[in-house]
């Protein structure tokens, strides 16, 4: 036995004083008084250290309280019947193809009716012409300045044929042309790589829409025939609109959210 543990040994042998637990309780009840006295008395570096320690303690306490609260709410939810009911023959097939399933629930329908023009990115920052274009000088003395090269990502359709390069006013660089986009279905939380059909609207300007420039907030049409979407009459849907959520020219890819 270590030399300094004689108090503990005594307690093991003879037990506590009769009023031990009472004293302890009262002492514990006084703790907050002592703490506040301490906090008022301390100054300088010691106060700083003490306050920091108290702060972390309090944060920890709040966290644990919050954890307990969450547990309570979960228990309440146990009685509720979970949604998303499936028939018995699909019970063991959950998750197999559900990620690919896109269906038009009533909720989705209503949302479509109510907020047809509510889009994930409602506002875009205006881009100036010199952010959009680089001026390309042409002519023998390089004094003609009517050519523009587009700095942003663009979509060029399959059947596009170039004008003679000499007369081409807008150059859409090959390296910034895209054919596919990563489209997320907001309700499924699943992402698919889908071919782009066209640019529906570029919010910056009508001209960019016709040029097929894709910037953040542009609405593009994508080919969703892979997803197996159907209309209420049982026809397969193949084109749907999606809004671009990233800056494709900076990221090197197009991320978009399907507008349902």
């Amino acid at each position: 036995m270590p030399q300094n543990e004689h108090i503990e040994q005594h307690q093991r042998r003879h037990g506590h004083k009769p009023d031990h637990w009472e004293v302890q309780r009262k002492k514990e009840a006084r703790v907050h008084k002592n703490r506040s006295k301490m906090a008022q008395k301390l100054f300088g570096l010691k106060a700083k250290l003490y306050n920091k320690k108290r702060y972390t303690e309090k944060v920890q306490m709040k966290k644990t309280m919050k954890m307990h609260e969450q547990k309570n709410t979960e228990e309440k939810n146990d009685d509720a019947i979970p949604g998303g009911a499936v028939p018995v023959y699909l019970l063991d097939r959950e998750g197999m193809s559900r990620a690919k399933i896109l269906s038009n629930t009533i909720k989705q329908k209503r949302k479509e009716k109510a907020g047809k023009w509510a889009v994930p990115v409602p506002k875009v920052k205006a881009l100036t012409e010199d952010q959009m274009f680089t001026i390309v000088r042409s002519g023998k003395r390089k004094k003609k300045v009517w050519k523009r090269m587009i700095n942003k990502v663009s979509f060029v359709g399959e059947n596009f044929t170039r004008k003679p390069p000499k007369y081409e006013r807008f150059i859409r660089p090959m390296a910034l042309r895209f054919k596919k986009a990563h489209v997320t279905h907001p309700e499924l939380k699943a992402t698919f790589q889908l071919p782009i059909i066209g640019v529906k609207k570029n919010p910056q300007s009508h001209m960019y829409t016709t040029l097929g420039v894709i910037t953040k907030g542009s609405v593009i049409e994508v080919n969703v025939s892979d997803l197996g979407l159907v209309t209420p009459t049982g026809k397969v849907v193949w084109g749907k609109y999606a809004q671009v959520t990233n800056n494709p020219e900076l990221d090197g890819c197009i991320n978009a959210v399907l507008l349902v």
């Binding site: 009685d79 979970p82 009911a85 499936v86 023959y89 019970l91 009533i106 209420p232 009459t233 049982g234």
Partner: protein
């Protein structure tokens, strides 16, 4: 009819032995030249009894004339003209005998064999049907005709979650729907209004089954409980039937002709067991265990056998009296998803025939005897047949009473086969698959008959009309479709659901089709 000549000499024994040689001796050109055939008419109910004598008929004898002939005093001597369908070498006669015979022979021949035969024909003199009479098999058709449903007469909202199962009562007066909102609802069909809401389950109601006397409804849920309700007032008949450890996947009542009080109910569950319940005492009579994975379907046969299929790839037969497993059928290579038996429709209708006369309590015994007679009539001399469908994209036809080896394996689907159903007359089987198609098979030999294409999503369920001439299917593509089996074409499309159609059912009286799905609306379709 003046051409008819009844042969006095009975050739039953001879002809049955010659039946098989017929195909090999007759060649297309000879048949084409012949103007008259000797034919005999044979019952198609498995007994192969010959009806009447052998007679000589014109080669261009048509279906209508054949029908008249069979109904006449020389053969069946029917008072009324009843409809029959005729088969030569398993090919149905649609126009006249000769064309059908030609077609059947051409179907049997491979291209090479046909070529050889042509060369041979020139120098040979062939034996024709005059030596062995042509066997024409006939089957009775349904006396009534169900008119196809075309329009939606009612969209019944009420459920607050997806409808998972729809079932018409055997007398066709009301329909029950089980839903993901943990309720069963009964709907009155005359007014097309809600009748009762049966609350009591605490989780999704997965399956609903009417008792064959139409007085009780059993429902099984994901809360592992089976509940039985009175259809008349929507009250529980007794306590909840608790015992399963996992969700209930299927229910089957004891056939009406075995017990007219409908006391016993079988339920199968994901927990690998089948439980037999006594409904009036609200307790479990016994448990059948043996499957090693979740049981997917259970059927109560007419002769006291319970059939079950499971995800452990097997089909098992259980004897109710000895409470033991009598046979295990192996054959599938993946989960067995669903099962159907040839007498399923008649057992479902139980106490009711196609006229649906209401059942009175003092006539129970009388009706039981009638039901027994109807059951025996449908079954004929054939043993009960089973068709199972599986995740391995195939179906298997079994005759479990005869052999535990499959009769035929039906291949052709390119996806999981989810649902399979015998036609009410037991001559065809329809299978619904996730490859977006429905296939129809001959239930006698498992031969492929036709594919019904038109859905653009997986097909979940099919249901036959009472006369076996029409079929309705529900699919994930949010439509139901009605198919005409006489030509294998889409008869009409039933659009209107906003989402997947999980369950379809054709009422036993043939008047209505009910469909329910993820859009929470029960739709009733009528002619």
């Amino acid at each position: 009819m003046s051409k008819r000549k009844i042969d006095d000499v009975d050739t039953t024994n001879e002809s049955s032995s010659k039946e098989n040689t017929l195909g090999s001796e007759v060649t297309p050109s000879v048949i084409e030249q012949e103007t008259k055939y000797f034919v005999e008419l044979v019952k198609g109910d498995g007994s192969s009894d010959k009806v009447g004598g052998t007679l000589e008929v014109d080669a261009h004898f048509e279906l209508k004339q054949l029908n008249e002939l069979l109904n006449s005093e020389h053969f069946l001597n029917n008072d009324q003209q009843l409809p029959y369908s005729f088969f030569v070498n398993d090919v149905e006669i649609k126009d006249n005998i000769r064309d059908t015979l030609m077609k059947s022979i051409q179907d049997q021949l491979t291209p090479q064999a046909a070529k050889k035969l042509k060369q041979k024909e020139k120098g040979l003199n062939f034996v024709s049907t005059q030596d062995a009479p042509l066997r024409i098999t006939f089957f009775p058709q349904a006396l009534f005709r169900v008119r196809p449903v075309t329009r939606c007469t009612a969209s019944l909202p009420g459920h607050s979650e997806a409808i998972l199962s729809v079932s018409f009562s055997p007398d066709g007066t009301s329909v029950a729907s089980g839903s993901g909102d943990a309720t069963v609802r009964l709907w009155d069909l005359n007014t097309e209004m809600p009748q009762h809401t049966l609350q009591g389950h605490t989780h999704w109601v997965l399956c609903v089954q009417w008792s064959p006397d139409g007085k009780k409804v059993a429902s099984g849920g994901k809360d592992n409980i089976v509940k039985v309700w009175w259809a008349s007032n929507g009250k529980k008949t007794g306590k909840a039937l608790k015992g399963h450890k996992k969700w209930v996947t299927g229910l089957a009542w004891e056939p009406f002709h075995a017990d007219s009080s409908c006391r016993r109910l079988a339920s199968c569950s994901k927990d690998e067991t089948i439980r037999i319940w006594d409904v009036s005492l609200s307790k479990c009579e016994f448990t059948l265990s043996g499957h090693s994975k979740g049981v997917t379907s259970v059927k109560w046969g007419g002769d006291g056998t319970i059939y079950s299929c499971a995800q452990d790839l097997t089909v098992r037969l259980w004897n109710v009296d000895s409470k033991s497993c009598t046979k295990i059928l192996h054959g599938h290579a993946h989960w067995v998803n669903h099962m159907t038996m040839s007498t399923e429709y008649i057992l479902r209708k139980g106490a009711f025939d196609h006229e649906c006369v209401p059942l009175e309590d003092d006539k129970l015994e009388e009706r039981r005897v009638e039901a027994k007679a109807r059951y025996d009539d449908v079954l004929g001399k054939n043993p009960v047949r089973l068709v199972t469908c599986s995740d391995d994209h195939t179906l298997i036809l079994w005759e479990p009473a005869v052999s535990d080896k499959p009769i035929a394996r039906m291949t052709g689907h390119q996806g999981i086969v989810n649902h399979v159903l015998f036609s009410p007359d037991g001559r065809m089987v329809a299978s619904a698959s996730f490859d977006k198609s429905i296939k129809v098979w001959d239930a006698r030999n498992g031969k492929f008959m036709m594919t019904l294409r038109g859905h653009v999503g997986p097909v979940y369920q099919v249901s036959w009309s009472g006369d076996s001439r029409l079929l309705v299917s529900g699919s994930k593509d949010s439509t139901a479709k009605v198919w005409d089996l006489s030509n294998g074409r889409l008869m009409c499309d039933l659009p209107g659901h906003y989402d997947e159609v999980f369950s379809v059912d054709w009422s036993p009286d043939g008047q209505r089709v009910g469909s329910g799905g993820k859009d929470r609306v029960l739709k009733i379709w009528r002619q």
